[in-house]
């Protein structure tokens, strides 16, 4: 059975890119939320195995959204996918309980490695 991923990113392009790199793997995209607010609402409905979360989005940013999801669902597995690959961003993501960080543009090998670690 495939692992279900909820993609949180305001760009449709990221969903297309994720679909490309996840083709033929043990993962499938179960939902695509285009804002942090939407992700908070949808998490309980979708009940994904893993969430990929962008950081820079219109409205609530991905770090705040991840923090709220993890507060409401402590067992949530969230991987940040962002172009903001800095120590301070890594530290905040780690502090709120994100299971990994992938910087854009991403590669299949790197993505699958981080997903695997996040789901251990």
């Amino acid at each position: 059975m495939k692992r279900r991923i909820m993609v949180v990113d305001d760009s449709r392009l990221v969903r297309v890119q994720l679909e490309d790199v996840l083709q033929g793997t043990d993962y499938e995209i179960a939902a695509h939320c285009r804002s942090g607010e939407d992700a908070i609402e949808q998490y309980a409905v979708v009940q994904p195995d893993l969430v990929t979360m962008d950081i820079i989005m219109q409205g609530m940013d991905g770090l705040d959204a991840a923090e709220i999801i993890l507060k409401n669902h402590p067992d949530a597995r969230i991987v940040m996918i962002s172009s903001l690959a800095y120590d301070d961003t890594f530290k905040r993501a780690e502090a709120i309980g994100a299971r990994g960080f992938v910087d854009k543009p991403f590669h299949q090998e790197q993505l699958l490695k981080v997903f695997g670690q996040a789901l251990r």
């Binding site: 760009s11 449709r12 392009l13 990221v14 297309v16 890119q17 820079i56 219109q58 962002s82 172009s83 903001l84 690959a85 800095y86 120590d87 301070d88 910087d103 854009k104 543009p105």
Partner: protein, 162 residues
């Protein structure tokens, strides 16, 4: 943004990032040239925060951005909305690559906000062009990556206020 590094080093980072991200994201190879984009162009703009006060602008032929968007979305045609969405995400990733490389070189983090998309050319207020990198693809479609810095008068005025 280049207070912490030479202009040449910054140009090299911008050039490498643009070529890598364009090929990886859209499958298009750009090379530096001297032919600017034509009249039908679009602009994407990002401002850097944390006191840098600089910005990056990409002006590109609409046809080039549309082709890159079609490649990325795997679609034969793209809407204006797709074009804008692609351009913003592409530039967001490009600027992330640039600031990441700068961070590795200087240990100074340059965060940036949401990219803004314009049809036509956009000139940021209160800033002047520091340098322009001009590119073309194999179909002679063009793009320019423009680094803006605060105008000298604006900088002086800000210093006088403090």
């Amino acid at each position: 943004m280049n207070t912490f590094m030479t202009r040449e080093a910054l140009e090299q980072i911008l050039d490498q990032a643009l070529q890598d991200v364009t090929e990886q994201t859209a499958g298009v190879r750009l090379h530096q040239g001297d032919q600017p984009p034509g009249e039908d162009l679009c602009t994407v703009h990002i401002t850097f925060d944390k006191g840098f006060g600089t910005s990056l602008t990409l002006c590109a032929d609409t046809s080039l951005l549309a082709r890159m968007a079609r490649n990325s979305f795997h679609e034969d045609t793209v809407t204006q909305e797709d074009l804008e969405e692609f351009s913003k995400e592409y530039f967001n990733v490009l600027c992330g690559k640039i600031t990441g490389a700068m961070y590795r070189a200087t240990q100074v983090a340059a965060h940036f906000g949401q990219p803004v998309f314009y049809h036509g050319r956009y000139e940021p207020q209160g800033q002047e062009v520091q340098f322009v990198l001009t590119y073309a693809d194999e179909q002679s479609e063009g793009a320019q990556l423009i680094h803006h810095v605060p105008c000298v008068q604006e900088t002086q005025a800000a210093l006088n206020e403090t």
